[in-house]
Amino acid sequence: MAVEAGRIALRHTSAIPTQLLFASVSPTYADKTNATVVHAALRLDDTALAIDLGSSVRSAMGGLILALQSQGVSVVASADIRTGLAGSSEEANGGDAAAAFVIGDDTHAPLAAEFIGAASATEEFIDRWRAPGTQRTKTWDEKFSEITYLPLGQRAWTQALQDAGIQASDVSLVAVSSPSARISSTVAAKLGAAKVLDNLSSVIGLTGAAQPGLLLALLLEQSEPGQIVALVSLTDGADVLLFRTTKHLPQAQPDTTVAQQLTRGAPVSYGRFLSWRTMLAIEPPRRPEPQRVSATASARSENWKFGFVGSRDTTTGAVHLPPLRVSADGQRTDNMQDAPMADVLGTIATFTVDRLAYSPSPPIVFAVVDFDGGGRFPIELCDIDAEEIAIGGRVRMTFRRLSVTDDIPNYFWKATLVRAS
């Protein structure tokens, strides 16, 4: 998800990232960096730093704050999958999301929104807690949270306005992110901004580390140039960021807005939902389990595996997926250039549904995809019902985790239908 958000963000700026900051409460790896996976999939330069910000919800807001204080161009990406014990309100109220921002100054690229002020307040208290590696967060008492966050939020808000030299009423739109939808709206109502953003938490859910970024994205999607927007995050303290949108905002709007994405979902049965959360084990087929990925082979094919970069024969222009050293006609060796294919659309030439093969979420829907401008690759489809697939269907590529074996995730790409919004 962080990769998907990052790709959307990077499509709308000419700035070249020099660092990537990544935050998630449920990252794939401990010890090993997760941000390097995102770095590889976004095909950032080797010289760019890529680091994880830690597995707290506040890390995501922290990433934005640190990036605004940094030199160079930062990509700040946060992603989270929120669930809880079966039947809990945590499960019902949780949502999955990712957000990404490209942050720099106007020497790098035109600014869509200018940072004008910030403030933070920090206090140590246990309103919620989780053991590392587990899937549920326990909460103490929402009333305790409310009486703790309200003054923290108000203090940070007042200071941020001072820092920016503005009044509360100058803020056109404010969003409040917190572990509770009720606390968010209670605090938001007391801030005195012109309007409060609808968090869409009843539709999307509360998305943990992705929440501040999600709300900032919504703020920017719903603003006009020349407006002041505010993001307030109430998590283990309070953080406030103030921005003024610029005339460049329209061209920075993503091609796929949050509103558009919300129209593209489909119902999922509770059983399947639980199996996706790994809370329900489904019977595997009587087939060998997937082997673990070879680290050395993956390192050699980093561009292909993580970046979906094939090779193009410089003489014939033929695209080879996966990349080959020898051209398809057998005539030339090492006569290739990189062919980045992740953003190229394709058409389904033929397809099938495999009900026998191993999959974390069977059956496997699979198609032979012919890409615009050349190149073919047979590949698994995702986010699709078996009945929807047909010859001629249009698909786009998306970065996914195919399976996990021996605690090593197998990352690669899948195709998904281009859906009208």
Partner: protein, 396 residues
């Protein structure tokens, strides 16, 4: 490009074939011993008269020792070969070339597989360590992609196409019911076939060949020596092999309605054998019906049917046991079973029985034609190896 062939230089003088089934009580070694002894006996030769061996097994074991040990061979050369599901044919091909080279007088090719010791369903290969981006689809799913492409290109209604592929399964089970060595020996009705649960795409349970354990073997010698062993040898007219390069998976011009490797292999095989009109010159064909849709396309790639019409020929009964060109008279992979290393040789075994009039009254084909074709493939649409042999009961 030189593919001269070795027409009429080599003869098969003996063959053996175990029955194909889940041999819970027989290991790889037992299958090897049983098939080899039947083969020595068939050729009427002493074991020591075989000078060299080619062992075909995809996953049964590495090295020629896998054959030498159970047979307790005495200082003989043994080579283990593998070429996906064409492994058995590959073994015969190598043995034939070795004798044709003059290096040996008599050689044996033996194919064997134990598919039922893993506890897993279907054929499962263990690929070498890799970057995780390879396909994990079953063979059934890979071949099932042919069906929508074929239907669309040739304007065949989906129902008619399902009828045609069901007919292939019906035919092969009908034939296998008449074969004491086959894994499945009951006729199956069209309704049962069409109503079976879908495995992958439009392929149901009965559209997919099962896997089995088994072994088959052949002994070859120079054609001019054949009379020393038998007065009914089979002469090798053609051995053709094409290894695809995976282009169908990367080249958008491949349309999934044909297997180019097989089409090229057929042209070479017919040229080697001097055949100009396959469907009238060949008495029977054993082809690689791993899936029913595969057999349908093979009819066109082997030039038995015009492009886009095989489905009609199948429904007309052209390839039935009593049809104009019987295909898979022994039941095929579908009904006989598919121990990977053995299948290619099992196909030749049916040619051996049929052309020598030894197939038995239930399925003997009565014909003046003296040629048989065996076709064995491995891999998937877009990435295949293809083998074709043409065998004949007469020289010339």
């Amino acid at each position: 490009m030189a593919s001269h062939g070795i027409k009429d230089q080599i003869a098969i003088i003996g063959m053996g074939c175990t029955n194909f089934v889940e041999h819970w009580n027989l290991g790889l070694d037992d299958l090897i011993v049983n098939a080899a002894n039947e083969c020595y006996s068939s050729a009427g030769i002493a074991k020591d008269a075989v000078d060299a061996y080619w062992l075909g097994t995809a996953q049964g074991g590495m090295s020629g020792i896998t054959l030498a040990r159970p047979l307790q061979l005495q200082n003989k050369p043994v080579t283990r070969v593998e070429n996906y599901c064409a492994t058995g044919s590959e073994a015969l091909r190598q043995a034939a070339y070795a004798v044709a080279s003059g290096a040996y007088d008599v050689a044996m090719a033996l194919g064997v597989e134990k598919t039922k010791d893993s506890g897993f369903q279907g054929l499962n290969a263990t690929p070498p360590p890799n970057d995780g981006t390879g396909r994990t689809l079953t063979a059934a799913a890979m071949f099932s992609m042919v069906a929508p492409a074929y239907a669309k290109k040739f304007g065949v209604d989906a129902t008619e196409l399902r009828e045609a592929i069901a007919r292939v399964a019906w035919k092969n089970h009908y034939n296998g019911a008449r074969n004491s060595r086959a894994q499945f020996r009951k006729e199956v009705s069209m309704d049962t076939i069409k109503n079976s649960p879908k495995m992958a795409g439009d392929l149901g349970l009965f559209d997919c060949a099962g896997v089995a354990d088994g072994a088959a073997a052949a002994i070859v010698c120079r054609a001019q020596d054949a009379h020393k062993y038998t007065d009914k040898p089979l002469y090798i007219k053609a051995l053709s092999f094409v290894a695809g390069n995976g282009s169908g998976l990367t080249d958008p011009t491949y349309d999934y309605t044909t297997f180019p490797e097989i089409a090229a292999c057929a042209v070479d095989a017919y040229a080697q054998a001097g055949i100009t009109n396959p469907s009238t010159e060949i008495a029977l064909a054993e082809v690689h019906d791993c899936f029913t849709i595969t057999e349908l396309v093979l009819m066109e790639d082997l030039l038995f049917s015009e492009r886009g019409t095989a489905w009609q020929d199948i429904l007309d009964g052209r390839f039935d046991l009593n049809g104009q060109l019987p295909v898979n008279p022994d039941g095929g992979l579908k009904s006989f079973g598919h121990p990977v290393g053995a299948s290619g040789l099992r196909m030749m075994f049916e040619a051996w029985l049929q052309l020598r009039g030894e197939a038995g009254p239930e399925r003997q084909i009565n014909t003046d034609r003296t040629l048989a074709l065996t076709h064995n493939l491995g891999g998937y649409p877009g990435e295949m190896v293809s083998f074709i042999s043409i065998l004949g009961s007469q020289l010339g």
